[in-house]
Amino acid sequence: MSKSAASKLAEHVRRATGVDVAECYQCGKCTAGCPMARWMDVVPSQIMRLVQIGDDEAAARLLSSAAIWVCAGCLTCTQRCPKKLDPAAVIDALRELSYQQGKVPASQRKVLAFHKAFLKVVEKAGRMSEIPLTALYKMTSGDLVSDVTLAPRMLVRGKLPLVPKVVRNRRQMKRIFAACRKGDRL
């Protein structure tokens, strides 16, 4: 059991990550070092605090926050936490929950579209390659204009392979994706 017994969210996080957020004493060192903090609507130490509280209001705020999608997973917070906690893992768990519950905020459309496009390509081909990824991402994110000038330059440098490599045992890949899918979401 998580030591903050009242918080269902804390218990979920503990089960998913092994982190007991009750141990966080809100020093703020995670926020202080976070490279993405300035783009976050809820900074990492506040994320920890809201998980401690874990009531409906806190959960709603967390799961629909941009912050959990903005986190780059750089582990700076985890590296320096004086309580040896792992805020990055906590954020991972919240992100998965947010996705499963369909709470991803509109502002994070592009980020989500990218992750989904990436996994779609991997599901279909077993490997990621730039052209299908970019094509799928652009279709789903609506972000059609950015980086159009980069593609030709990548091409001439041999960085856009035209014939993507694929995994032979496609059945196995399908099985893995099917097994990891929760509901209709992955």
């Binding site: 992750h115 996994l119 992955l186």
Partner: protein, 292 residues
């Protein structure tokens, strides 16, 4: 010599191809056989862990299981992002029997483990210790290098054994062996924005610019890295940074393997040096032949 397992990772054929090229070139030179894992799949970096914890483990699990079945005990994965996923998975599986059982079920594959996963820095250091050092001609004397570790070679399970997370130095011996010098700077471990290149370009531009600015202020002629993601953010995104009116920056970004390859006298094309966005070939003109 027993062959070293090799996991190329998806960027090997695409955006990070010069890393793969230079790794292979060095391995050839050192007489190390790299045996690619057959039918390997994408490890899921950097998307899978955002949406599904299970998938983030299952994808690398398949790779590990294949490698083990193919009789490999050690796997080199030059991409730092893949390294992080594979090594993280090895560690997590060793820690939790539950997870291992679930993965067996999810994938239908058997992995007993633990395999040893090594990254590009460990690979280079190993080659150097194995005799490659004597083959270096040090044509890079005077070159000032900012060694960039980023997140994936300095933190968490990714940290190289014996290194210091805050002030890492595991690349230093290789840079020195290549005759170049390491400049002290502040952004060796700061995040470049990682996988947000496409989906959150603003952040990558900002963060990468800080890194470039600090390297330049420190007097570095180039940045050396071991991660294709960092490389693409720092190299390719320099164009974006410049196009947004910041800069202009013109800092070559090399893979450690390219740097050591140059010192070993390998051809720049063989190392993929011509594939960079920011001209790296000009570093060669600075290269001074070592006095006989």
């Amino acid at each position: 010599m027993t062959p070293l397992g090799y996991y190329p990772g998806c960027s090997d054929h695409g955006s990070g191809r010069e890393l793969g090229m230079s790794v292979h070139a060095l391995a050839r030179l050192a007489g190390v056989e790299l045996k690619e894992i057959e039918d390997w799949n994408c490890c899921g970096a950097t998307a899978a862990h955002n949406l599904s914890h299970d998938l983030a483990v299952a994808l690398p699990y398949r790779v590990l299981a294949l490698a083990e079945a193919q009789g490999l005990a050690e796997i080199l994965t030059p991409c730092a992002a893949c390294f992080s996923r594979l090594k993280g998975t090895v560690v997590r599986l060793a820690r939790s029997a539950d997870l291992a059982a679930r993965m067996r079920q999810v994938t239908g594959l058997e992995y007993r483990g633990p395999l040893r996963i090594i990254n590009v820095v460990e690979f280079v250091n190993r080659l150097l210790a194995g005799g490659l050092k004597d083959k270096l001609a040090a044509p890079l004397a005077g070159l000032k290098v900012a060694t960039y570790y980023g997140c994936l070679l300095s933190r968490g399970e990714n940290i190289i054994e014996g290194d210091d997370a805050e002030n890492p130095a595991s690349m230093t011996p290789a840079v020195k062996a290549a005759g170049a010098q390491v400049v002290p700077w502040n952004f060796a471990t700061e995040c470049c924005g990682g996988g947000f290149s496409m989906s959150f370009t603003d952040a990558v531009v900002d963060l990468s610019e800080q890194i470039l600015a600090d390297a330049r202020a420190a007097g570095a002629d180039c940045i050396v890295t071991g991660c294709p993601m960092c490389h693409s953010n720092l190299d390719m995104r320099q164009l974006t940074i410049n196009s947004r009116g910041r800069g202009p920056y013109d800092v070559p970004v090399l893979y450690l393997t390219e740097l050591v390859g140059l010192a070993a006298g390998l051809g720049p094309k063989e190392l993929g040096l011509d594939c960079h966005f920011v001209d790296a070939m000009r570093l060669l003109s600075r290269a001074e032949p070592r006095p006989a």
